[in-house]
Symmetry: C2
Amino acid sequence: MLIVGESLNGTIPKVGEAIKAKDAEFVRKLALDQVEAGAQMLDVNAGVAGASEAEDLAWLVGLVQETVSVPLLIDSADPAALEAALAIHKGRPMINSISAEKHKLDSVLPLVASHDCSVVALCLGDEGIPQTPEARLKVARITVERAQAAGVKLEDIYVDPLTLGMCTSDKAAKITLETLRLIRQELPGVRIMCIASNVSFGMPNRRLLNRTFAAMAVAAAMGVEAVMVDVRDKAMMSSLMAADALAGRDPYCKAYFKAFRAGKLVT
Amino acid sequence: MLIVGESLNGTIPKVGEAIKAKDAEFVRKLALDQVEAGAQMLDVNAGVAGASEAEDLAWLVGLVQETVSVPLLIDSADPAALEAALAIHKGRPMINSISAEKHKLDSVLPLVASHDCSVVALCLGDEGIPQTPEARLKVARITVERAQAAGVKLEDIYVDPLTLGMCTSDKAAKITLETLRLIRQELPGVRIMCIASNVSFGMPNRRLLNRTFAAMAVAAAMGVEAVMVDVRDKAMMSSLMAADALAGRDPYCKAYFKAFRAGKLVT
């Protein structure tokens, strides 16, 4: 399971301020802390209101790659910012994201196809986020087919089923879990990315909901290939290790035992 | 979700000693503690080597029912002990358990059919615990059909997929999760009982594995009707509340919010 650290995101107020102020020390520490906590990839998002996203994202990518050696998940809605970041990224990044929206297929998919990278494919179309698992599968299928037609390999596509907050609907997580199950059944070969933090938006005890949801997502898809979480949350990381082992994805529970011996698991 | 407390079990050394010694105070406290922690039913098992199980189980049932008002899950492999316990149980108990084994169908099923009770149906046949989810479904189907033929209502049958310890195989939990999914699909109307503690037998950080597995079981079956757990484990109870809400089984997350306000959820 590829574990992506979610925290270098300009939409988080403190991080946004640091990006605006070009506070290199803050960014370096957040990158180091996440890698030390077990992140194998870091999301970088420079979406700060009233700033130059292309310039900021390129700065962020350069600075983070000077500091840590993991690849980055380059996260922007702006194709120009993605292009600027891709131009300076060393190694093989992932792009966040394409979808079945026309403007994404027109503007971001060509970038993905022309660079050596993987990509997150959101279950999202021109009509927004579909309400049913079947409709989410449908937009995922369109996106995957278009990406493959553009030359992107199936194993480089990480489908994100999307998760709305439980504060918007008490069926929000259920729809995502059922979407995960459908994607696993109906789109063999594609990879799955589970983003755990949205589900708890506006709810009490967010960390409890996030880690419980992450384990449930692993069960629904019988293993996910990637997760994006707050890697500094030890209880979350423990749940991921346990869930991966329980889903039969950790041969001889080797990684689980190793984490236990290293004192990385909560009781 | 019906929450059953697992702890009044004579196979646990301390509890076994208390039953042997007819230590009423110990038993009363364990019953009260579990109900206070949220148990809606208590498993009672008097399986102590070298003792009279029928006599001990009847004593246990009487004592626990004097102390708390929840119904009991009467747990014995001995039909005579079950019969003695059923004779004195007040209210509507559950019997643990029947299976597709010939001697269970011959000796325990008639007891179930002739009493006003519900029953746990183990995925177990005369050849032992089947190795594959499909084979477990097969023995579950046989048991359910035989129970229905004997007059037991479908909604009174709680199928337990059985869970071996991860120490026996790194696919042990996966087989159970896939069995849960199959039972939900193929045996509509039947209820599901998830017993969470076996999975971690012989493994480090048992509570972490147990609560993660319980959440995964809820995801695999899209909600379970009953769980048997250590109800005194606050992290487990929190995971169950979160998982039930995330599976869309807690309308408006009312129970989750209530537990939060009562300080019953870990962060």
